[in-house]
Symmetry: C2
Subunit: 210 residues, 2 copies
Amino acid sequence: MPTPAPARKRRKEARPSELLAAALSLFVDKGYAATRLEDVATLAGVSKGTLYLYYANKEALFMAVIQEGIVPVLAENEEIAARHTGSSFALLEKLLEHWWSRIGCTAYAGIPKLMVAEARNFPEIAAYYYRNVIARGRALVGAALQRGMDSGEFRRLDIEQTIDVVIAPVLMLLIWDFSLGHFKDTPSDTNAYLAVHMDLMRQGLCVPRV
Amino acid sequence: MPTPAPARKRRKEARPSELLAAALSLFVDKGYAATRLEDVATLAGVSKGTLYLYYANKEALFMAVIQEGIVPVLAENEEIAARHTGSSFALLEKLLEHWWSRIGCTAYAGIPKLMVAEARNFPEIAAYYYRNVIARGRALVGAALQRGMDSGEFRRLDIEQTIDVVIAPVLMLLIWDFSLGHFKDTPSDTNAYLAVHMDLMRQGLCVPRV
DNA sequence: CAACTTAATGACTTTGGGGTCATTAAGTTA
DNA sequence: TAACTTAATGACCCCAAAGTCATTAAGTTG
């Protein structure tokens, strides 16, 4: 007796984004190599064969996940920076807030961990990510810092290093949440963490009032 | 014709550490799943069969790598903290400096990236690492911060959050070096980065002089 | 409703790599 | 130097998961 006819829907439009969401979730959780494409397909409510209808192979799927994850957030932040009037520190706050609302508190938040874990195995994807995300994000923060130093709001510091020191706690927060964060007894309070970071940065960066 | 006799040395004592060093290097570079035990063995100058003489399976090798990586550095830092007299900020500097000399600039520097990437796949190893490394490191920094706040040297801030904000740039530095760091045009200057971090922390943490 | 197009399936093939073990040879002992 | 112990080897087994494709059925057209 042949298997009873399974109910299968034809939804050509919706498949790619559903497959990407499933792949992102599993890649972030287990890592690239330990993720089975059959599991990705199942999580997307589809068979493995269908996945190959939309993505040529596992690496193409990975690349698509990363590209999708970039979204227009960088462009939006560049727009915010261009329009900004007010203190340079307020600009840093705005950038962080927007980035958080569009990446930090979404499923895309897992991408930094994924990219960090797989950068060495996929140098071309990593280079693409570096150019289109990291470099642009660093440029935004760097410009805000430069503006603040020029206006006398910030102390003069090595800009290139300061960019990385300012960004690190934010990136680390995401990476943490997707890795060792669960082993802490007391649940971490994201807002309090970011508040302390900005508090330390405000006093750390700004020229002390005499 | 049988293969000519290969020259093989018997070095029972040296094998384990050589295997661990090779495994650490490849695990950090490629990740756990993408690392082949045959490559680990080859890098250690030994055959795959020999590896199994010393470690029961791949996961046991991974666990050994993590345990080995802990070394007595935490204990040493606890000792440093206990003996310390002087400002609390100077204590933070001492802890960082010792940790850097014993972990940050050695092969063990790759362990944070490895642990972050694999925590979800090996919850028991991750829990072990959390208890024996993370928790103790956080306690050290937390005690230094508490001491500084009690003495009036530091501002009063949420200690738990501040611990993580202070540690994040240091961890991120290591993770960076083993992942996306290579894609930056200008080579990063570790000393300058740490100097800026400590500079920002000093002014950010300390009570402003009136 | 018959003929046709194509989204979707899942059984099948293939392969890379984890793990085993019979064999070999380095070193030791009498 | 013969007999013995054990470190080391690598050919082999086996399975899980990537990737394929003949078949099925959902939807469309006339």
